[in-house]
């Protein structure tokens, strides 16, 4: 079934929407029962921007990123992605998710499918695109994440870093406009962290809009256009990395940085 916004014209339209941020959060509140984990967060992400969200554990970073593609519903506020109101009950969540890729800390590859099948599955089953075309794109993506030769390996036969790169390729196969990365290197061995970060760096260099939750400060400093520091469910401070890392204003930010740097 073709979705209006998925046609070439629709895509071009959303590209031309002009001066609105591609991801726009306004006063977002999110609770789990009585526990409020996000207490009014607003942020803007512009097309081709790379934004890193950092902060201590339990500050609601991962929850925030899951709200952006509607995996977690929010109680109050507004999230707009490429002009779609995520909090709208009438929202076509599937259309939203075709536009927003997400990569998780635990990779979550489909263990019963090979690497290339993992990449091909969503375009085949969800977008119902022709197999030949999907396979061509999947091979290109596998090459892009530098896993040529591993197409027919099962996730269990791959290292954590390789699995995570397959997971990135799998998300990219849906041709999203925005990529969300939820602590994607946190579960990896130190020696494989670098290859995953390199993949993300190349993606960012290609102009992909990226929102990352990360603990890799060096990477954030190098790649991010803007850094948001969250604590206790609010954004304490934000700014370009150079300013953020060397000249943090808020004492909470400075305390956090002194612990992790």
């Amino acid at each position: 079934m073709p979705w209006p916004d998925e046609t070439a014209a629709g895509r071009a339209n959303s590209l031309d929407r002009g001066d609105e941020p591609i991801v726009l959060l306004r006063d977002v509140h999110k609770s789990f029962g009585a526990l409020e984990v996000i207490k009014g967060i607003s942020l803007d992400v512009w097309r081709s921007e790379v934004v890193c969200i950092i902060g201590p554990s339990g500050s609601g970073k991962s929850t925030l990123i899951r709200c952006i593609n509607g995996l977690s519903p929010i109680q109050r506020g507004s999230i707009k992605v490429a002009g779609r109101e995520v909090n709208d009950p009438k929202l076509d969540k599937l259309a939203l998710r075709r536009n927003v890729g997400i990569v998780f800390q635990q990779y979550n590859l489909f263990p019963h499918k090979t690497a290339i099948e993992n990449v091909m599955m969503a375009p085949l089953k969800v977008l119902r695109e022709p197999r030949a075309e999907v396979e061509k794109r999947a091979r290109a993506l596998i090459a892009k994440v530098k896993l040529t030769g591993k197409e027919d390996s099962y996730p269990g036969q791959l290292s954590g870093g390789q699995q995570q790169r397959v997971a990135i390729a799998r998300s990219l196969a849906m041709r999203p406009e925005v990529m969300l990365f939820d602590e994607v290197t946190a579960a990896l061995d130190p020696e494989t962290v670098k290859e995953v970060l390199l993949t993300i760096k190349e993606l960012a260099a290609d102009g992909m809009t990226c929102i990352l939750v990360t603990h890799e400060m060096g990477f954030a400093r190098e790649v991010a256009d803007r850094i948001y520091f969250t604590e206790g469910g609010v954004i304490v401070e934000s700014g370009p990395p150079a300013e953020f890392f060397s000249n943090a204003k808020d004492p909470r930010t400075r305390q956090f940085l002194s612990q992790v740097l």
């Binding site: 599937l94 259309a95 979550n108 969503a122």
Partner: protein, 278 residues
Amino acid sequence: MTPLAFRLDPTLGAGWRLSGLLDWRHGLALVLAFAASLAVALAQSAPPVPRPSALATLVIWLPFIIRGFLLNLAMSLLAMILATVLGIGLGLMQISPLAPIRLPARFVTRLLRNSPWLVILFVVMYVLPVEVRLGGGARVPLPDWLKATFAFALPVMGNISEILRGAVNSIPSGQWDSAEGLAFTRLQTLRWIILPQCVRRAIPPWMNWYALLTLSTPMASIFSVHEAVSNAQAGMEAAGARPDLLLPFYLFLLVLFFAYIYPIAVWTRSLERKYAVA
């Protein structure tokens, strides 16, 4: 008094004397004939040749019992197919997000899992009709073996429903997350991602239930379904209901079921080990 006191009139002359003598011999003959008839009757009631041993009797009835066992197998296979199809349906209803679907399915599953198989068998045998009338007026008979097959499918269906629910719940939630993130619908996620992973986890318990199902099919003998046990009993009956037949006949039944089930059990265990490692 002479022993021939019944010669009432000895004065009748020589002619009568002979006849009197014949009368006496006639009486003796009657006695002998009775004795002979008793002997013949006795001889006819006993086997003309030495009776066959219990083992020989078993060999005579072997094809009959094996034919019955084939019905056990047919019933077990048919019941398993039915139980699998219905059980998967019931299991999928059990994991539905909609309470009006989920709750009845959960109730039925628990009911079927926690009822004695024999009671289910009795209920089904008495509730199901002898024949089913189709729309066109055609009548499809429901033989007892078919009804019993359906009865055996029910408890296994409940257990397969539970196996499916357990297997789906054992899949890490990250699989649902990433499928959702890739814009899969719930049904697509189940069909392409969750259920294929469940198959491996579900096969060993599924085979286990098949073995139990097969072992319970002799219960159908209560309703004179001509399966192995019922045929063996008929054979023993026909061979004179001798107590010395009981052991060989029932031992043979044990061997028959064991020979079929044991390889399945061994295979199940090896699959369990294999999947536990993988």
